[in-house]
């Protein structure tokens, strides 16, 4: 390395400064969640840590309901999207037709429909069919919302599986189901898992449909946190405790799935 020591120090200092600056609000949120309400409105770094705010958030009878809704809706939306996408990606990767490329691009183009553009009809359809404020309604929306990304990601993973392996299975008399379930699934499990993870992250953080289509019964954590936008938000410690719990699981998932995230979010255009 011909880089001078001064340059290397500068890079390290800059890199860490930027990282800490970007992370600071999250750090401060976690720190504040362990403060008492009186400490929370000061910028004090040293204080008597307490779990009181977490206790209070949990004591709200409905916190667990919100958390359960987030888990149920994210898992439900992801499973439904995978169930639709696996056959589709299998068929396009191993039995391509002249239309396959067009179909893939068309699927991508459905992502371009802005949610606000169809808010009114979806709201009215949900109201008429009684889907408003139900978990199944949001599960359906989230599955459809992520379906193009999920198909694309699975397609790229399946593309890397040699055709010969599936053909050998077929020669041995495997049915289509057996081919997918016994051969393809074990081979591409890491790919399916990371696709599911990305879908979970997107569902968990989605805050347009969840704010507009739920009120109390099916509202997930995004909506729960939004309720702190009232003057209640000025209870900084409670807001921080609730936020920390809402963010922590997905933050950890996110750290582990950065690479897949890049591929999934850019439809494989950046590797």
């Amino acid at each position: 390395m011909t880089d001078s020591l001064a340059k290397r120090i500068l890079v390290a200092v800059l890199g860490w400064a930027v990282a800490l600056l970007l992370f600071f609000p999250i750090f401060w949120m976690v720190l504040t969640s362990f403060k008492s309400e009186t400490d929370a409105i000061t910028a004090r770094l040293f204080f008597q840590p307490t779990l009181a705010s977490y206790g209070e958030v949990f004591a709200r009878a409905d916190y667990l309901a919100f958390a359960f809704n987030s888990i149920a809706i994210s898992l439900g939306g992801t499973v439904l999207a995978l169930a639709l996408a696996i056959p589709a990606a299998y068929s396009m990767a191993f039995h391509p037709t002249p239309r396959t490329r067009g179909t893939l691009l068309w699927m991508l183009s459905t992502k371009m429909l802005p949610p606000v553009g169809v808010l009114v009809p979806i709201y009215l359809l949900f109201r008429t069919t009684g889907l408003l404020d139900t978990r199944s309604g949001l599960i359906g929306i989230y599955a459809l919302m992520n379906l193009p990304i999920v198909v694309w990601m699975l397609f790229t993973f399946y593309k890397e599986v040699p055709h010969e392996i599936l053909e050998a299975g077929r020669m041995d008399g495997a049915t289509t189901w057996g081919e997918v379930y016994h051969l393809l699934m074990p081979l591409t499990l890491p790919g399916v898992a990371s696709t599911g993870l990305l879908s979970l992250i997107l569902c968990w953080n989605e805050a347009f449909w969840s704010l507009n289509l739920t009120s109390s019964h099916a509202a997930p954590l995004t909506a729960f946190i939004a309720s702190f936008s009232s003057p209640e938000g000025l209870f900084f410690a409670k807001l921080s405790a609730a936020s920390t719990m809402a963010v922590a699981p997905i933050l950890i998932f996110g750290w582990f799935s950065q690479k897949q995230l890049v591929q999934g979010l850019t439809f494989g255009a950046v590797k």
Binding site: W16, P25, I26, L84, P96, T103, P114, A246, K259, A269
Partner: protein, 304 residues
């Protein structure tokens, strides 16, 4: 040419019996069908409602409205304000995130102690849900009395800024940029890492400085990744909603009302289905102009 012969042409070596291959390629149909319904039905309904008199609170307003909803929309100063805010928000966040994101991607590509941990910290904001990001910034950071920024300002003997009343749109832009800068960084860093080091080494041998290397090697290499970031961010930034919903509710006045928030207010606060639908059609048109370019960018990639 029969369908099977085309297939044999595109998938050489496919030893499947001729009868079963088309059957298997039909497995794509469930996904195509649900997406088709998901796209067509609401689209047609939005279009239809945008030409109707339809108010959820007043069942007597009904019938064909012609272009009245659109006429009302374009004479409404709030609409033009929302269009302007949407575009200002979009342009500002794009400039901030792509500009800084490119520089940071180059920075985080340099080796330094603890680089992996620093990277993880830097991209973390992207995983924070929008409602949390907005409220943490609004209360813990930007609150004029209790927020960290206010405390810091006072420590330096300055007057703390009341961000959301003095600079409402800039505050929203700041929050949204904080969420999307890590995304740009993540994508661009991935692209920088695939840069051929020998090429850079050769340039350095030829006496190219850091800045020349950045402009003549790194930036051209990143051009595709940058266009992808711009396109994807644009899709999401045109529909920014939660951040505005929990911080300013579009105010003060219409200072932070974007198209998404305007449509929401029309539809679910004023129950004016016709008017909201006309706004929805504008939002769809806007997004489609962008989509046109994105699909083309990705399509090029698919051919290679």
């Amino acid at each position: 040419m029969s369908a099977t012969s085309i297939e044999a042409g595109t998938a050489p070596g496919d030893a499947a019996p001729a009868a079963s291959a088309p059957a298997r390629s039909f497995l794509v149909m469930p996904s195509v069908l649900v997406l088709l319904v998901w796209m067509i039905v609401p689209l047609v309904m939005t279009l239809w409602f945008s030409f109707r008199n339809y108010n959820l609170l007043d069942p007597t307003t009904q019938g064909f409205a012609g272009i009245n909803n659109y006429a009302y929309l374009v004479t409404d100063p709030d609409f033009w304000a929302s269009l302007r805010n949407t575009l200002v928000l979009l342009a500002s966040v794009l400039v901030i995130t792509v500009g800084l994101g490119t520089l940071l991607a180059v920075l985080f590509n340099q080796p330094f102690p603890g680089r992996n941990v620093a990277r993880v910290l830097a991209i973390s904001p992207f995983f924070v849900m929008p409602t949390v990001a907005a409220l943490v910034w609004k209360n813990l950071m930007m609150h004029p009395i209790y927020g960290v920024l206010g405390v810091v300002a006072r420590a330096f003997g300055m007057q703390p800024v009341d961000w959301f009343s003095q600079f409402p749109l800039a505050s929203v832009i700041g929050i949204v940029s904080w969420e999307w800068l890590p995304f740009a960084l993540l994508i661009l860093l991935t692209a920088v890492q695939s840069l051929d080091n020998e090429q850079r080494e050769a340039a350095r041998m030829d006496g190219a400085g850091m800045i020349a290397q950045f402009f003549f090697i790194t930036l051209p290499h990143l051009s595709r990744a940058i266009s992808v970031v711009i396109m994807i961010e644009t899709i999401f930034l045109l529909s920014v909603f939660a951040e505005i919903f929990v911080t300013t509710s579009g105010g003060p006045g219409n200072a932070t009302t974007n198209l998404a928030f305007l449509i929401y207010a029309r539809a679910l606060l004023q129950f004016d289905v016709g008017g909201a639908s006309a706004g929805g059609v504008v939002a769809i048109l806007l997004a489609n102009i962008v989509a046109f370019f994105l699909v083309r960018t990705v399509a090029r990639r698919l051919e290679t």
